[in-house]
Symmetry: C2
Subunit: 374 residues, 2 copies
Amino acid sequence: MKRIVILGATGSIGRQTLDIVRAFPDEFEVVGLAAGNNVELLFEQIDEFHPRHICCISPPDTLPNGIKFTPMEEMVCLEEVDTVMVATMGSVGLMPTLSALKHGKAVALSNKEPIVMGGAIIKDYEARYGGRVLPVDSEPSAIWQCLQGEENEIRRLMITASGGPFRLTPVEDLAQVTPEQALKHPTWQMGKKITIDSATLMNKAFEVIESHWLFGVPLENIEVVVHPQSTIHSMVEFADGSVKAQMGPPDMRLPIQYALFYPKRLSNEMIPRLDLGVCHSLTFEPLEPQRYPCFVLGMEAGRQGGSCPTVLSAADDVAVHSFLDGKIAFTGIPKLVEQVLSEHQRMPGLDPEELLEIDRWATARAKELVKRAL
Amino acid sequence: MKRIVILGATGSIGRQTLDIVRAFPDEFEVVGLAAGNNVELLFEQIDEFHPRHICCISPPDTLPNGIKFTPMEEMVCLEEVDTVMVATMGSVGLMPTLSALKHGKAVALSNKEPIVMGGAIIKDYEARYGGRVLPVDSEPSAIWQCLQGEENEIRRLMITASGGPFRLTPVEDLAQVTPEQALKHPTWQMGKKITIDSATLMNKAFEVIESHWLFGVPLENIEVVVHPQSTIHSMVEFADGSVKAQMGPPDMRLPIQYALFYPKRLSNEMIPRLDLGVCHSLTFEPLEPQRYPCFVLGMEAGRQGGSCPTVLSAADDVAVHSFLDGKIAFTGIPKLVEQVLSEHQRMPGLDPEELLEIDRWATARAKELVKRAL
């Protein structure tokens, strides 16, 4: 029986995590649920899963009997918790992730920003306190699955990218695309922020940085391949030239379930099956850098390291929400990110509080630049 | 340092095994080499690799100093041997494979017929005497690689087939195809017998039976998918719906090397790298049974089990050589195999001598039927 806390319980990954809990009711006890503003759904979840601890931005005056309001950083350290699903958004997940690792918990990490910002600290905490980060994102999960049982040198990671909804749009038309068009992801159903990051391929740069930290592979040995069908979730090439790939239907419940039951794989009727028997074609194309300037910026910030990925992710967060709110163009996203990055002087070896300070600076600066341009 | 014996040293797999020995001279000692009639090449190999034991069909009157003529079944049991590469053809490999297993050796098995004929006995010997069969064939090797580190239930094996040179030939034209056309395999360079078996897809039925024994998966959970590019060598679907695939360039030295160094993977400049970065397309189609009657016969013989796969492989051997010699048509191969199978009464639970007796009967009967038809 796994005693679990879910941070971001009302978001897309949080709800799908509860789908897995629902499918295997004897395997889980939900100790705590944390949400943002969607208090209505949080209370439905409380009725169904009976956590003893909850957290949300504006708690109601009275809580149901036996339920305590517990801040996220405390909830993840509770004695009775063994697994924490971090499915929050942006930098919010950093401190709870570090707290959980410090207390030796298994952290299923869906929220990319904590590891993009604080990869070095997370790896250090894992080594020092015995907690462990388990990938949830489908691409790092694919790599993790391919590495099972392999003590062998990794020659190259190949992360696949669908290419997003504008893979075939003339580059000169990208300035005119609307949020509605950008939210139509060709293969995956996800939250709004990550869907836009998938259209700009910023998300892929985040995954490259995440995989670098999770699997200890140098950035120059991580390649991104455009694979519009999203059937192969990622690949690993070993020293001998053999390549392993992990495939599956585009359903996040599969990697969520893998992280929660690792190393066991359980049958779950909910998850559709992959069918290659019907005529099927998997295609691969090189990534066009001029189409995806966010990816180029992201990779450069990743290579710079230190404080740069924090500035990258904070500026991107503001840029994506400004685009969704109609304040900037789609092509304004990389411009804003580039501007904030250019105003920042890289700092190495920071502690979590310093990273959050930089995160606040980059967020404020990006918002100011958006306001000024309006 | 691995002390190795190679049976079938002058054939395609034998020569490629020696390529691996040549690439890693400090890792191997060649204890013995066995060949058929290609004595000239065998003597070149003796000069280069200095085995102490050799075997061939017609040994010359005098042997170089310090070299002994040792029958295959004895060579594989020598105290100083730890790994045996069985790269012989047809039923010839059965007895040496069993001898090696009986003496606790690792058997890298490239020759499919021993396990197609004697899968039950081989598994029994592995369990009783502690020897181990290591797959060499690219498809079973792919499955083996995908299973590393997985203690999980296998839902399905998906073995890929190129479809051979006649995948798009109108079925009614198959009676007229020549040996020259059939020997042009679209993706792999192999020996003649296996190239024809790849054109009829008999080879795929052999691989299904082989994989059934090697991995303990019921035949009904093994599927064959036509994948003309031969980039994905095979796939495994686990209980949770996740699919792992192994890919690589079509170069047999990769699976040979994997079997020899298992579980280690060593870098080898000789082996080309897979490049998916250039525009690339992997396609999958269902297998058309009416195009591949040998596959249908093979699967049926596999399901029957007992003595039937022995009759299948013996009759196929005669049929393929008769086709290569211009004695029967390409479409005569399944007809001959079907006729011999229909004259045989299935027998269960046979010992190796009884299997070889049936092999001899089926061989003689198939030859008689070819002669009678001429």
